[in-house]
Symmetry: C2
Subunit: 242 residues, 2 copies
């Protein structure tokens, strides 16, 4: 049986990465007076990685990295109004409506009727609280946890704190690195639902094909209730056979 189902938020319940992709395109356009635009995305990624220890994740960190990249690739020629446009772009990102992914609005209320749900998300506290409030989903989640990274250690301490055994925990998310592999390492269950865009930093090599997958991959969240039911029945069968 499953005592707790936790969901990642960005790109699992609502669109997020497309905001960043769109901003990257806008940044390239903004730089056209100074720069061909070639290689800007790679330069931005390099800046983001360099800034991760100082600035962490989120839109503000992304904004500072966009500004720094714009200054570097234009050799300092970008002017004040050009930089202001980048800041305005970040404000638009912050205030963009929360767009739920397909099936989310139907599936979450159904699952919350039968299971305890947790929202377990990484990133800027202020950002995430604002998005959760605007998503209209907050009432279906018994717990909301915002963490700065999702490592085995973080999952372990979270499950201890909530007194949940890993084998009775199911994590659902779009990142193998953050949502799936650390949970599987602890002996928990994980459902991987890829999003059509993944930030380069979140990609990992997939486990070898020959090994049995210790997690399940679903095409979309609409398939989750059937999987949860199957998981619980399988457990019932095992227990009945003892």
């Amino acid at each position: 049986l499953i005592d707790l189902i936790a969901f990642d938020a960005d790109d699992t319940l609502w669109h997020n990465e497309n905001l960043y992709s769109h901003a990257q395109e806008r940044l390239q356009e903004l730089l056209t007076p100074y720069h061909s635009g070639d290689g800007v995305v790679d330069e931005l990624y390099r800046t983001e990685m360099d800034n991760l220890p100082a600035f962490g994740y989120g839109i503000k960190s992304f904004a500072l990295s966009m500004i720094e990249t714009a200054i570097r690739v234009t050799a300092g020629r970008i002017d004040g109004p050009g930089i202001q446009k980048i800041i305005d772009l970040a404000k638009e990102m912050k205030q963009a409506p929360v767009q739920l992914l397909e099936h989310v609005a139907e599936v979450i209320p159904v699952l919350s009727a039968s299971h305890t749900l947790m929202l377990l998300t990484k990133g800027d506290l202020f950002d995430q609280e604002s998005k959760i409030a605007r998503s209209g989903l907050a009432c279906h989640f018994m717990h909301i946890e915002i963490v700065s990274t999702k490592t085995v250690k973080v999952y372990h301490s979270l499950l201890s704190r909530h007194r949940i055994e890993p084998q009775r925990f199911l994590m659902v998310g779009n990142s193998l690195r953050s949502d799936v592999l650390p949970v599987v390492a602890l002996g928990g269950h994980a459902v991987f639902i890829p999003y059509h865009v993944t930030w380069a930093h979140e990609t990992v090599a997939k486990p070898e094909d020959s090994a049995p997958a210790p997690y399940v991959q679903l095409e979309h969240l609409g398939l989750l209730p059937a999987y949860v039911e199957q998981l619980c029945q399988r457990d019932d069968g095992t227990e009945g056979g003892l």
Copy 2:
């Protein structure tokens, strides 16, 4: 008796506001090629207030507001390298060593031997986790809670979650607005320890002198253990007298 003592972090346990004051001075210096520097601090505060709904608190938000202010007060004349210096200033702030306030290093271990301590801080999750880790104090705190605001509602839900009655809760901090008044409104105990600089946004009018202060003001944290002892003895006395 007191079941839980919670401490604010920035400017209660370690210096913080002086990082911002120092950055403001550096910003004025940076702008000297373009601007007299007069009114920059007021303009920056205005920008911060305008940006609060979109960007929240913390160094990254402050950095974006510094950049926006620099562009506005120079009428767009600040150049790329000038903006880069502001970003570098923010990185220095992020990486500045955590400087404990006087008495903190002695008092926290002493109190943690007799009481359950919580660190209850507002702001950027990533920032705060990094500072807590670098402070060397994390091991003395049973609970660490990072919230985006400190309202009566937030304290109420926090105390419910930890199953603490307000009259057995003591909050210690440098902000009347965030640390003292909401706790007192719930019937809890609060100790106000002013810091020599308070961010304008955190200032409130003091309660009228004629009313009995529902909280205690101490000059520094070194006086806290004696106050806690007195508070517990007073409770004992009351109970013994019934």
